[in-house]
Amino acid sequence: MLGVAKKLRAAGVLGLNERNADFIMRLNPRRLYPRVDDKAITKDLALQAGMAVPDLYGVIRNQGEVRRFGEIVETHESFVVKPAQGSGGDGILVVTGRSQRKRDSFRLSSGVLISEAEIKHHLSNIVGGQYSLSGNPDKALIEYCVRFDPTFAEVSYQGVPDIRVIVYRGYPAMAMVRLPTRASDGKANLHQGALGAGVCMSIGETLKGVLDNDLVDEHPDTGALISGLLIPQWDFILQSSARGYDVTGLGYLGVDMVIDRQKGPLILEMNARPGLNIQIANCTGLTRRIKRIDEIFAADASPEERVRICRREFPAERQTSLSFE
């Protein structure tokens, strides 16, 4: 057992205890958490910094405003409902369209029809705090539903695939693509059953995937090969992620982005406690990259500069060549 621990240490794998004690506690001051825990604030900050985010259709702040739901979505065929302080993707509803016959009946990304009353109940739950971290009253955001780029169409089962970038002290350290599966119900969170695929930081090409901590080559539902896909506008994605640090001030940050067909990469949310599965997806430990960033860290480097350095420093190891065979 100690042998395994030693090997993991040698491979630079970051454990939960080390992540919590050495990075989150040191680099992420608690007072900055609301900037990422409340998606309404995140959106505001990102907009002020000129970053691209999905359009906000409306915010439901209390039970009384739940009535306004119909009016908010009146002119929109598709939209996403999410709790402002939700964690781990809980409580997110993706509405992709309406029923042909009844306008107050909505179709979810999974294909299930859901009535307006049910959505309102869901909104009430969100406002009541069911999905917020501490059970405090929350806000519900209703925003643009991303029409995702066809790059990942083959390797997604419904829902929206997104890109998670770990940004350490402003430098993008590691990235993965999170692909929804049937098991994840269209959601892109790994612990809900989504598939994660590592990404070569230099060129933005996908590597093998990880599903429930196991390495996989193919998408479990579509059967398509996961590796070898080139992520469009990779440089822009990395720069947006790097800016996430300037906006939030969090030294250990997970930035979640989606690529829209028309609007390009958009920031969905940011996370102050990003998970560690990204290491399995990339077959690489985070510690080594973090150490390297500590060596080259320059406080006054611009986001463009930081991205340039990271693309140079962190090409995928070994995995890429394997996938080409």
């Binding site: 993991l8 205890n17 739950n125 009541g128 098991a183 430990g285």
Partner: protein, 506 residues
């Protein structure tokens, strides 16, 4: 830098905790284990009287020499009275005095003793008693009886036995009948016996005391006969003449003096209450430490009232549960709902015992969960829904208790000891996880919680550990140090080893 502070703090805590521990153990003699348990008896006498107009003086005879028992402590409890201890002819006397008092008064004297067979009577050999001055016709009767009994006995001991046997004869001879004609109480009876023993030049006296057994609210003193055979004191049962002593007999006072006298008061009543406490050798250690008792002893948990002690016995084990939680969470990586919920569940297990605790907990959560899913269809808002779950949990507890009682399984009743709010929160949390992340995650969390609860229960149920922590609460500082150190543990969790196995490069 921070790491160094953490180590320094942990070291400081450990050193402080361990040095107090070692001092109490080696120097003050606190026992490491609780097998040296001694029953301690507390006897309380309450003197109540109506105060007169003037000054009041109360005299109470109190235990002086108590063969078989050693005094733990004694205290007089009275409001506004001056107190002093005097030595009278019959032994120690407690004296209370006050210039004036209004209305009914009650004064308490309380003594705690523990059994000690080594505690023998360090009494001096009494002189031969002077022949009692007795008037006729009693004198002749006494003389005749003494010579009669002397003829049928060999020594002082058999003389006493024979005398008592005759006195207890249902049809005594006329001489005895005359002597016993005025006897109205047990002590009068014994007094006659001592008079006759004095006439035979045998030192003897009355002893009054209490056979200690269990809890008695209105204990009556028992009178016994004490006789010196020239070597040591012997005890005789006045009712049979046998040489014996009641089991666990605490001698309160000797002689024929009045137990209590009140000057300036009327309607005097004395009431004795006896209580048995199980105090282990700690209390004894406290007396050994003597008058110059250190603050360590004054601030020991044993100085608290017994009821409070029981509460702390449980409370002090919670840190142990928390330590188990830390170990399982941060070193093993077990998933559990809530931070301290498993520890609270473990506390409830203490009452229900493990087997039934697990069964009842599982039953309650399973039932509650299914009803929670029914409630889900009603689309209730968060707080009303939580309250509804809480009410359902209470009802379920009630049903389980009633059903198990009807079936004759009394263990089911203990379900009421579960912290229902905790159960309701567990159900709510589990149902949310169930819906959002699927049954697998929910069941894993529930199983993890139960696992931690069982581990915490086992750790918290170790009697030697409980005794150790209760006697040496400073050991909690050591546990604090461990937890602080664990807080800076940045190594892998055991379950992460298999999670990241793919990354070992093999």
């Amino acid at each position: 830098m921070k790491q160094r502070y953490v180590f320094a703090l942990a070291l400081l805590l450990t050193v402080v905790g361990m040095s107090i521990f070692v001092y109490k153990w080696r120097v003050l003699g606190f026992p490491l284990t609780d097998d040296q348990e001694t029953p301690v008896w507390t006897i309380e006498s309450a003197i109540s009287f109506d105060s007169g107009p003037g000054s009041i003086k109360v005299n109470l005879l109190i235990p002086t020499l108590t063969p078989g028992f050693r005094k733990l402590n004694e205290n007089p409890i009275s409001r506004g009275y001056g107190f002093s201890l005097n030595y009278g002819s019959g032994g120690r006397e407690a004296q209370w005095a006050v210039r004036r008092a209004d209305g009914p008064q009650t004064i308490y004297y309380r003594i705690s003793v523990y059994e000690d067979s080594q505690a023998d009577q360090a009494d001096t050999t009494p002189p031969f008693p002077p022949p009692p001055v007795i008037n006729e016709p009693f004198k002749t009767a006494v003389d005749v009886l003494v010579s009669d009994v002397r003829e049928q006995s060999a020594d002082a001991e058999s003389f006493t036995s024979e005398l008592l046997r005759r006195m207890n004869d249902p049809s005594p001879d006329p001489n005895l009948e005359l002597l016993l004609s005025d006897v109205s109480s047990e002590s009068d009876f014994v007094e006659v016996a001592t008079t006759m023993l004095a006439a035979a030049r045998i030192p003897a006296r009355m002893v009054h005391g209490f056979p200690l057994s269990g809890r008695q609210r209105h204990a009556q003193p028992v009178t016994w006969l004490e006789m010196h055979d020239g070597d040591r004191w012997r005890y005789f049962d006045p009712a049979t003449g046998e040489e014996s002593m009641p089991e666990r007999f605490l001698i309160w006072w000797r002689g024929n003096e009045m137990l209590v006298s009140v000057e300036g008061g009327s309607k005097v009543e004395v009431d004795f209450a006896i209580q048995r406490n199980h105090v282990d050798a700690i209390a004894i250690a406290r007396t050994h430490a003597g008058q110059d008792s250190t603050p360590l002893i004054d601030f020991s948990l044993y100085s608290l009232p017994i009821r409070t002690q029981a509460v702390y016995g449980v409370l002090l084990m919670i840190p142990i549960g928390a330590l188990v939680m830390v170990l399982l969470r941060n070193f093993i990586g077990v998933d559990a709902f809530g931070t301290f919920m498993p520890v609270l569940i473990a506390l409830a297990f203490r009452e229900t015992k493990l087997f039934w605790g697990v069964i009842l907990f599982t039953l309650l959560v399973a039932l509650g969960l299914s009803i929670r899913f029914l409630l889900e269809r009603l689309r209730l808002l968060l707080v009303p829904r939580l309250s509804a779950v809480l009410i359902v949990v209470v009802l379920l507890m009630l049903v389980i208790s009633l059903v198990s009682h009807k079936l004759g399984m009394e263990t089911g009743l203990s379900v009421a000891l579960f912290p229902m709010v905790i159960i309701a929160m567990t159900i709510e949390r589990m149902s949310v996880v169930w819906e959002e992340r699927g049954p697998a995650d929910a069941l894993r969390g529930a199983f993890g919680s139960l696992l931690v609860a069982i581990a915490a229960y086992i750790a918290m149920g170790l009697t030697w550990l409980e005794h150790l922590i209760f006697t040496f609460p400073e050991l909690l500082l050591v546990i604090l140090a461990l937890v602080v150190l664990a807080g800076r543990y940045t190594g892998y969790r055991l379950l992460e080893l298999s999670r990241f196995k793919a990354l070992t490069g093999e």
